[in-house]
């Protein structure tokens, strides 16, 4: 119970969940556990079952894509208060990238099956979770698209600023 209370309190500090009601904080916290990864440790691997969802409390995590014959391509890096992983929301619940701790990293790990069950039981709770996670997903998609724009490259034959 003490751990659940501590997780509930931690969630109040996480901007994406800060405005959830106290009841919902408890529901989310009830699926949570604390976990720690040392620098360089793998948190999860692409293709594995998405049975967890994480919120980073401290430290930094990088997401990597692996292509044969090439070094891992780093697609994103996340830090304190960032939610980590959304494959648990979407069937077939398989992870899409590797996640690796870049330094000592403390996370809250949520049991995805537990959260999904509570969301199925209480559509309003489900809605509250989606309302908070969808903007994060949309934001990251927009960032990824902007990364594709190669902002710092030199535009061909352009007439304005390029710095």
């Amino acid at each position: 119970m003490q751990i659940i209370d501590a997780i509930g309190r931690s969630l109040q500090q996480v901007p994406v969940f800060a405005d959830l009601s106290a009841d919902y904080h408890q529901l989310v916290a009830g699926c949570g556990a604390l976990s720690v990864f040392q620098s360089g440790e793998t948190i999860y691997r692409e293709g594995a079952a998405a049975d967890s969802f994480y919120v980073i409390r401290r430290g930094r995590v990088r997401l990597e894509a692996h292509v044969p014959g090439r070094p891992p391509c780093i697609v994103d890096s996340l830090g304190a208060n960032d939610p980590l992983g959304w494959s648990w929301l979407v069937p077939p619940y398989r992870l899409q990238f590797d996640a690796k701790a870049l330094e000592l990293t403390r996370l809250i790990r949520f049991d995805a099956a537990c959260l999904r069950r509570k969301m199925a039981d209480d559509p309003r709770f489900a809605c509250a979770i989606y309302e908070r996670l969808v903007p994060v997903i949309v934001g990251r998609l927009a960032e990824a698209r902007r990364q594709l724009m190669d902002l710092y490259g030199q535009p061909a034959g352009r007439s304005q600023a390029w710095r």
Binding site: G79, A161, W162, R163
Partner: protein, 287 residues
């Protein structure tokens, strides 16, 4: 909005090109280098009095003239640094020059960063790519009078780890206890242990007290557009946001009209502008 008519008559010194000698060439990145230039004796005082954010017109004899920001002072005597990315005829010709060669210089020109006016505020610097060059003198000026400012944050984005400009300076600034520095790259592989993502992600993460914060931005316009959006989301108003803009230039002194932008001449009224004075700057689509 009407185009502001040039208010000043040309003073001869605005047009006279003085010969500065290259004392040192430093390769920064594959396509970027820094020229350290020694002024002739009669230009030393004016050079030493440059404002962070101002630019000089650099003339390569027989080739052409380009505006280049001053990226730092180098010791006594008005010696100045210019950090240049080779993209076309003149900047490539500048890259061919060596120590001892002479460059024609006009300037310094333009409005710089509001270093004095923002004393007392928290300052966030957001730079992308070679946009760190015009901001480096601003960072040094703030560090020089560090006690006059609140929190000081430097956020820098580059294309890849190999494209990080002034890595030694970034390291030096971040080693100070009174300055927060964070760097991100758009893409990386293998051994890179830093952030990957746009500089906007750094803005979203950093602790800001919006009402006490001023932001200085310089980088590609698309980057600045996203960064302005990210700052606005954190509550930093347009009236507290300054950016350095580029337009093609010819005279550099507000006479030819080549660099006009929304009723301003970038060379004379800028290149540093307060965002609320150029409110639609990022909404103009190219034809």
């Amino acid at each position: 909005m009407a185009i502001t008519a040039p208010l000043v008559q040309p003073a001869s010194h605005l047009w006279s090109i003085s010969p500065w000698r290259i004392s040192h060439v430093r390769r920064e990145l594959a396509d970027t280098f820094t020229l350290t230039l020694d002024p002739p004796a009669d230009a030393a005082d004016a050079a030493a009095a440059f404002l962070p954010g101002q630019f000089n017109m650099l003339y390569v004899f027989g080739c052409g003239e380009v505006p280049i920001s001053i990226s730092g002072a180098a010791g006594e005597g008005g010696r100045l640094k210019h950090t240049i990315r080779a993209v076309g005829a003149v900047t490539r010709a500048l890259r061919q020059l060596r120590a001892g060669d002479v460059v024609g210089v006009r300037g310094p020109f333009g409005a710089g960063w509001p270093i004095d006016d923002t004393a007392g505020s928290d300052v966030v610097i957001v730079a992308g790519g070679i946009g760190l060059a015009p901001l480096r003198p601003a960072v040094e000026a703030i560090l020089h009078a560090r006690e006059r400012y609140g929190r000081f944050i430097v956020l820098y984005g580059a294309r890849s780890p190999e494209d990080i400009l002034f890595a030694r300076d970034l390291g030096r600034w971040s080693s100070r206890l009174d300055t927060y520095v964070d760097v991100t790259v758009d893409r990386a592989a293998g051994a890179w242990r830093g952030n990957v993502g746009l500089v906007t992600a750094l803005i979203a993460r950093v602790g800001l007290e919006a009402e006490h914060t001023v932001a200085f931005l310089c980088g590609p316009e698309a980057m600045m557009r996203f960064a302005v959006g990210a700052l606005a989301k954190r509550g930093v108003e347009a009236g507290r946001t300054y950016l350095s803009l580029e337009r093609n230039m010819k005279c550099g002194v507000g006479l030819c009209g080549r660099c006009q932008l929304a009723g301003h001449f970038v060379c004379r009224d800028g290149p540093v502008f307060r965002l609320d004075r150029i409110p639609n700057v990022f909404q103009v689509r190219e034809l």
